[in-house]
C-alpha cells in the first residue's frame, strides 16, 4: 500500500534531484539547516549520532566502554535527541482545489499533494516529525506528528483520500492546529487562499505570535491568473458561489487587477507577520517549489 502511494506521489527522479539539492543545500547552508533542525540539547536521545573523544568535565557514564575495551580510548557516545521540530502539513481540500485549466498540468490539489508529499518525505528522512491535517468543509483527518518512516504511509494515505469538494475551512483548521501542535511547530499550509478573509489573516498573525513557524504555499492555476478564455461564458463557482454569465474579454483586465490585489494583500499580511509566503502556479515543477521552500528556510 505504502509502495503504491509512493508510486503515486513520489517521482523517483524528483526525489533524486531533491536529494542532491538537499545535499548541496546542506553544504551551502549548513549552519542554518543545522540550527533549524538539530536539537540544541544533547543526551537522552535514543538514536546514536556520533562518537567524540572524551574531554574533561563530561559525564563518565557516557563513555562507551566497549569501544574503550577495543581501542583503549575514551570515546563518548553521543545520541541525537528526538528532534523537537514538528511539522504539520495543512492541505486545503475544498472544491476550488480540484480546478485544472487547459494551461495547467495538474489540479491545484494534486500539485499541492506532490509538494506536500515530497516535503514530508524529506522531513521524515531527515528525522523530523511530520503531522498532517486535511481540511475541506470542516477540518478533516488529523495525523499527529511522528518521525517514523512508517508514518509516511499514513501521511500519504491521508493526502490521497482528501476530497476536493465544498467550501474551505481554513480558519477552523488553523484554529485546530494551533490547539493541537506544540509551540514552535512548522506549519506548512497548502491552499489557493482564494477564500482568505481578514479573519484568516488575523489567525495567521495569531499563529505567528504563538511562535509557530508558518509557511504558506499558495498554488494557483495559470488560468486563474490570466483569465485566458474567449467568448461568452457561463462561469460556475466550485464552492457553491453560484454562476456568472459574462464575456471574459470584458472582465479580464479588472479580474487580473483584482487577483493581483488579493495576492498582494496576503503577501503584505505575511510579510507583516514574518510568514514565509510562496506563491506559484501549477505549471511550476514540484521540485522547484520544494527548492524555493528550502532556500527560504
Amino acid at each position: 500500500m505504502a509502495e503504491a502511494l509512493r508510486q503515486t506521489y513520489l517521482d523517483p527522479a524528483v526525489l533524486d534531484q531533491l536529494g542532491d539539492m538537499h545535499v548541496r543545500a546542506r553544504q551551502l547552508a549548513q549552519g542554518v539547516i543545522a540550527g533549524l533542525h538539530r536539537s540544541p540539547q544533547r543526551g537522552g536521545s535514543v538514536e546514536f549520532s556520533e562518537y567524540t573523544e572524551y574531554s574533561a568535565g563530561q559525564e563518565l557514564r557516557r563513555v562507551d566502554w566497549k569501544v574503550f575495551g577495543k581501542s583503549d580510548k575514551y570515546y563518548v557516545k553521543q545520541y541525537e535527541d528526538e528532534t523537537n521540530l514538528q511539522t504539520f502539513l495543512l492541505l486545503d481540500g475544498s472544491g476550488s482545489m480540484a480546478f485544472k485549466s487547459e494551461l495547467g498540468p495538474l489540479t491545484k490539489l494534486d500539485h499541492a499533494r506532490y509538494v506536500a508529499a515530497t516535503l514530508a518525505y524529506l522531513l521524515i528522512r531527515q528525522g523530523d516529525a511530520v503531522g498532517a491535517l486535511g481540511f475541506a468543509k470542516t477540518p478533516g483527518a488529523f495525523l499527529p506528528a511522528a518521525a517514523r518512516t512508517k508514518h509516511l504511509d499514513d501521511i500519504f494515505f491521508l493526502l490521497d483520500n482528501l476530497p476536493a469538494r465544498g467550501p474551505t475551512a481554513l480558519d477552523d483548521s488553523l484554529r485546530q492546529i494551533a490547539e493541537r501542535a506544540r509551540r514552535r511547530s512548522l506549519i506548512l499550509i497548502f491552499s489557493d487562499l482564494l477564500d482568505a478573509t481578514e479573519h484568516t489573516e488575523e489567525l495567521l498573525r495569531v499563529l505567528k505570535s504563538r511562535k509557530f513557524d508558518v509557511v504558506i504555499f499558495q498554488g494557483l492555476d495559470p488560468a486563474e491568473l490570466t483569465l485566458p478564455y474567449e467568448g461568452l461564458s457561463l462561469f460556475e463557482g466550485m464552492e457553491d458561489e453560484g454562476e456568472l454569465l459574462a464575456d471574459p474579454d470584458d472582465l479580464r483586465d479588472r479580474y487580473i487587477e483584482a487577483m493581483r490585489a488579493h495576492n498582494a494583500r496576503i503577501k503584505a499580511v505575511c510579510n507583516g507577520a514574518n510568514i514565509t509566503y510562496l506563491s506559484y502556479d501549477t505549471t511550476r515543477p514540484v521540485e522547484l517549489v520544494c527548492q524555493d521552500f528550502l532556500r527560504r528556510r
Binding site: G95, S96, M97, F99, K108, D192, L194, D195, D221, A223, E224, L227, Y229, E230, G231, L232, S233, L234, F235, E236, G237, M238, E239, E241, G242, E243, L244, L245, A246, D247, D249, D250, L251, R252, D253, R254, Y255, E257, A258, M259, H262
Partner: protein, 722 residues
C-alpha cells in the same frame, strides 16, 4: 399646395427592398442565440470575477446594447438605403440656386377666351412669366387652338414674347387638353433638370374636346386662372341652333324660323333681345327669357320677297361679353325638290300589292314637306296629259306598253335633260319595249329569267343575289362606308335578260347580279339619263323592297337622274372643321367657295367629293367652275357658325385638375418630374451611416487585448516614424 404634404413624405425608388428591414431582427436573434450558446466553465475565483463584473457590468451592458443597436441600425439602414429613399423639398432652393428650368406655357386661346378681357389678362400673365425667367431657362409657348409653327423650347425669350403678342382668341373652341399633353411631351424631351408646366386661361369645360378627367400629366402643373370667380360658371348665352320651315308648298310663302337660345350660366336671364336679320336688314325682333342652364326657343315668321338663296342670321343683342356665339348664320333657300312622276304598271286595291307601294314610301318616308323628293303617281296616260317638263324624273314601274305618242314624249323629255327609270315586272313585254323604247333602253330586252317562285322551299339554292356594284357610281358611293355590304343579301327570284348593246352605244353597268347578269344599267341619252332596273321595284321578283338598302338606293337613283347633288345643304357647318361635300357631276373641274371678308377657297373634286372648311363665321357661296351667277349652286352653299362647344364657360369640376396629377393607382405622378422641388436623395447618407456603424461595431466588438495591442503598436511606431 400639394407640394407641401409631399415634402414631408419619404419616397422610395425601389420600395421592394424595404423587405430587407426584416433582416434587422437577425442581430437580435443572434444575440439571443449566443446567450444560449455560452460555454459553461467551472471557475474557482468566481468571487473575484463577480467583483470585477459588478464593477464592469454597467459599461459592458452599455457596450453590448450599443453594439446590438449598431448592428440592428446598420442592417435597417442598409435595407432602407437599397430602397433608395428620397424626399422632395423646396427648402433651401433660392431663385439663384435653382437649377435651369424648362417652362412650357400653355395659353388658352379658344373661342371662350373672347369673353371680355380674358385674353388680354392671359397674355399679360404669360408675359410676366416670361420676364421672370433667367437667361438659361428654356421656354415654349403653346396655344390651345392648335400647334403653332414654332412650338419648341428655346432660350430666346424675346422670340416667345413676340409670339405671345400675336395670340388672339381663335374662332374655334380649341382643345386645351391636347395642348397640355403636347406641352408635357415637349417638357419630357428637355434635358434641363427642372420642368414647369403652366396653364394660363379660363379652363372652361368647353375648351376640352375630350373628357378633361381622362387627362394625365406627368409634370407638376400650375394653373393661372383669368376668371373673376373660378368657382362659379361665367354667365353666357348662345344661339345653339336655328331651323326654318316653309309654311306651305307655294314657292313664295312665309317661313317660320326657330332659334334655340341656351343659357350656360347659373342665373336666369330676362328679356334679352333677339333679332332676325335677312340680307342686310333687320326684319324682326323679340325678347326672350332663358332660365339658368335651360334652353328657350324664339320664333320668327318671315315672308321672302326674293325666292332665291338668301343669307340670314339671328342675333342676340348685347347679351353677354362673349359675342361670337350670339349670332347664328344660315341660308333661307327655296327647297330644291326632285319632282318625280311615277307610272304604275300594275296597280292594286290591296296597298302592298300595288306596284308602287314600296317606292312611294321610300321616296316620301315622312311628312311630305320634309322630303327632298316629291313623287306624283299615276297611270301611263299621264305621260300624255301632263307637262313632263314640270318633272325632273319619270319612273316606269312594270308598265306593259306605251303608246307611240307616249314613247315620243318620253324620248323628248329625256333628251332635254330629264331622267328616266325603267323597272321590269311581269307586265313587261320585251318585244314591245324594244320597239317602242329602243332608243332609250341601255340594252335591248331578251326575256324573263325565272329562277324560283317566292314560296319555293328550294328558293335559297335557286335564287341569285345582288352582286358587285360600281363603287364609284354616285348611287352606290354611300355603300363604300363600313357596313355598306348590306345589298349583298338581297334575294332575286326573277329578272329580265338583256341582249348585247348595239355597237357604238355607251352603256354603263352600275350593278350586276351574282350570276353576272346586269341588274342596273345607265345610258346617257341627249341631255338626260336612263336607268334600267332589270328586276321589279316591288316584291314580285325580289325582296329588295324590304331591305334597308332599298330606300337609299332608289332615292339616290332619282336624285342622280334629276342631277341633284346628294349633300343636304346647310346642316351645321362649324368654323375651323373640315367637311366633305358631295358634288357628284355638278362640278367638272373646280369648286369655288367665297365667304365673308372676301375669303375664297378653290378645290378640285375627287370622285365627286370636295373637302371644305370655313375660317370665318357667315354665309359661304358655292360656285361650280366659275365664280359667276351661273355657276352658283344654291344647294351646296352653306353658312358656317362658331362651334358652340366653346359657349359652355363653366369651370372644370372640382378635383378634375388634381386628378390630372394622379396616376391610375391614385399616387401623385409629379414624382417623376421634380419641377421646382429638389429631390433630396437620402441613400448616400444612409450608406455613410452604415459604413460608420460597421466601423464602430468592429471597434467596439474587437477584443480589448487586440485593441490594446494595436494601440501599443501605434504608440511604439510613432517615435520611429518621427
Amino acid at each position: 399646395m400639394p407640394g407641401l404634404s409631399e415634402e414631408a413624405l419619404m419616397n422610395f425608388v425601389q420600395p421592394l427592398f424595404l423587405a430587407g428591414l426584416l433582416a434587422a431582427a437577425l442581430p437580435i436573434l443572434i444575440h439571443l442565440f449566443n446567450r444560449r450558446k455560452a460555454v459553461t466553465r467551472p471557475f474557482p475565483a468566481l468571487r473575484l470575477l463577480k467583483e470585477s463584473n459588478e464593477r464592469t457590468a454597467r459599461s459592458v451592458k452599455v457596450r453590448q446594447r450599443v453594439l446590438l443597436a449598431l448592428r440592428v441600425l446598420a442592417i435597417a439602414a442598409l435595407a432602407i438605403a437599397l430602397a433608395k429613399p428620397f424626399v422632395l423639398s423646396q427648402s433651401g432652393l433660392t431663385a439663384e440656386e435653382r437649377m435651369p428650368t424648362a417652362v412650357a406655357i400653355v395659353v388658352e386661346d379658344g373661342l371662350a377666351m373672347g369673353h371680355g378681357d380674358w385674353m388680354e389678362d392671359a397674355t399679360a400673365r404669360a408675359d410676366t412669366l416670361i420676364e421672370d425667367l433667367r437667361p438659361w431657362d428654356q421656354v415654349a409657348l403653346l396655344r390651345s387652338s392648335g400647334p403653332g409653327e414654332s412650338e419648341r423650347l428655346t432660350e430666346d425669350h424675346s422670340e416667345v414674347a413676340r409670339q405671345l403678342r400675336d395670340v388672339r382668341a381663335s374662332t374655334s373652341p380649341g382643345d386645351l387638353g391636347e395642348a397640355i399633353t403636347r406641352a408635357s411631351t415637349l417638357l419630357a424631351s428637355s434635358q434641363l433638370p427642372n420642368r414647369r408646366l403652366i396653364v394660363v386661361g379660363a379652363l372652361t369645360e368647353g375648351s376640352f374636346e375630350t373628357a378633361p378627367a381622362d387627362l394625365e400629366i406627368a409634370h407638376p402643373l400650375e394653373i393661372l386662372s383669368v376668371r373673376e370667380n373660378p368657382e362659379r360658371p361665367t354667365p353666357n348665352l348662345a344661339i345653339t341652333a336655328v331651323s326654318y320651315q316653309q309654311q306651305s308648298s307655294a314657292r313664295e310663302s312665309a317661313w317660320t324660323i326657330t332659334a334655340t337660345i341656351a343659357n350656360f350660366g347659373d342665373e336666369d336671364v330676362d328679356a334679352v333681345q333677339a333679332q332676325l336679320k335677312v340680307g342686310d336688314s333687320v326684319v324682326g325682333g323679340q325678347r326672350v327669357s332663358v332660365a339658368a342652364g335651360q334652353e328657350s326657343n324664339v320664333e320668327f315668321v318671315h315672308r321672302l320677297s326674293d325666292p332665291t338663296l338668301t343669307a340670314a342670321q339671328v342675333d342676340l343683342v348685347d347679351a353677354d361679353p362673349l359675342e361670337g356665339d350670339n349670332t347664328w348664320h344660315f341660308f333661307i333657300r327655296p327647297r330644291e325638290q326632285v319632282r318625280a312622276l311615277l307610272i304604275n304598271g300594275s296597280p292594286s286595291n290591296i296597298p302592298y300589292d300595288d306596284e308602287l307601294f314600296f317606292l312611294t314610301r321610300a321616296l316620301r318616308p315622312g311628312v311630305a314637306s320634309e322630303s327632298a323628293i316629291s313623287p306624283t303617281t299615276g297611270a301611263p296616260d299621264r305621260l300624255e296629259r301632263d307637262d313632263l317638263s314640270t318633272f325632273d324624273v319619270v319612273v316606269l314601274a312594270n308598265v306593259s306598253r306605251l303608246s307611240a305618242d307616249q314613247a315620243t314624249r318620253l324620248k323628248a323629255f329625256v333628251e332635254q335633260g330629264g331622267g328616266l327609270l325603267i323597272a321590269m315586272g311581269d307586265q313587261v313585254d320585251p318585244e314591245t319595249y324594244n320597239n317602242q323604247l329602243g332608243e332609250l333602253l341601255p340594252r335591248p330586252l331578251r326575256g324573263l329569267k325565272r329562277l324560283a317562285e317566292r314560296d319555293d322551299p328550294d328558293a335559297p339554292v335557286k335564287i341569285t343575289r345582288l352582286g358587285p356594284a360600281r363603287r364609284q357610281h354616285p348611287i352606290f358611293r354611300v355603300f363604300n362606308l363600313p357596313g355598306g355590304g348590306a345589298m349583298q343579301s338581297v334575294q332575286v327570284y326573277s329578272y329580265m335578260l338583256l341582249n348585247p348593246a348595239p355597237s357604238g352605244q355607251q352603256t354603263t353597268l352600275a350593278l350586276s347580279f351574282q350570276d353576272n347578269a346586269p341588274a342596273l344599267l345607265e345610258r346617257q341619252v341627249g341631255q338626260g339619263r336612263v336607268l334600267l332596273w332589270t328586276t321589279s321595284l316591288d316584291r314580285d321578283w325580289t325582296d329588295f323592297p324590304v331591305r334597308t338598302a332599298y330606300l337609299p338606293v332608289v332615292r339616290r337613283a332619282l336624285s342622280h337622274l334629276a342631277r341633284r347633288a346628294g349633300s343636304s345643304s346647310d346642316t351645321q357647318r362649324v368654323v375651323g372643321k373640315d367637311f366633305e361635300v358631295e358634288v357628284g357631276d355638278l362640278v367638272n373641274e373646280r369648286a369655288i367657295v367665297t365667304g365673308p371678308d372676301a375669303s375664297r377657297q378653290v378645290v378640285e373634286p375627287v370622285d365627286g367629293m370636295v373637302t371644305l372648311s370655313a375660317e370665318t363665321p357667315g354665309p359661304h357661296l358655292f360656285f361650280a367652275d366659275e365664280e359667276s351667277e351661273g355657276g352658283l349652286i344654291a344647294g351646296l352653299s352653306f353658312a358656317a357658325n362658331l362651334d358652340r362647344r366653346a359657349s359652355r364657360l363653366t369651370p372644370l369640376a372640382p378635383g378634375v385638375i388634381e386628378g390630372w396629377q394622379l396616376d391610375e393607382e391614385g399616387r401623385p405622378i409629379a414624382e417623376s418630374a421634380p419641377g421646382q422641388q429638389r429631390r433630396v436623395n437620402l441613400w448616400s447618407g444612409l450608406l455613410f451611416f452604415v459604413t460608420m456603424a460597421l466601423l464602430l461595431e468592429s471597434v467596439l466588438g474587437a477584443r480589448r487585448s487586440v485593441l490594446v495591442q494595436v494601440g501599443r503598436r501605434l504608440l511604439r511606431g510613432r517615435p520611429a516614424d518621427a
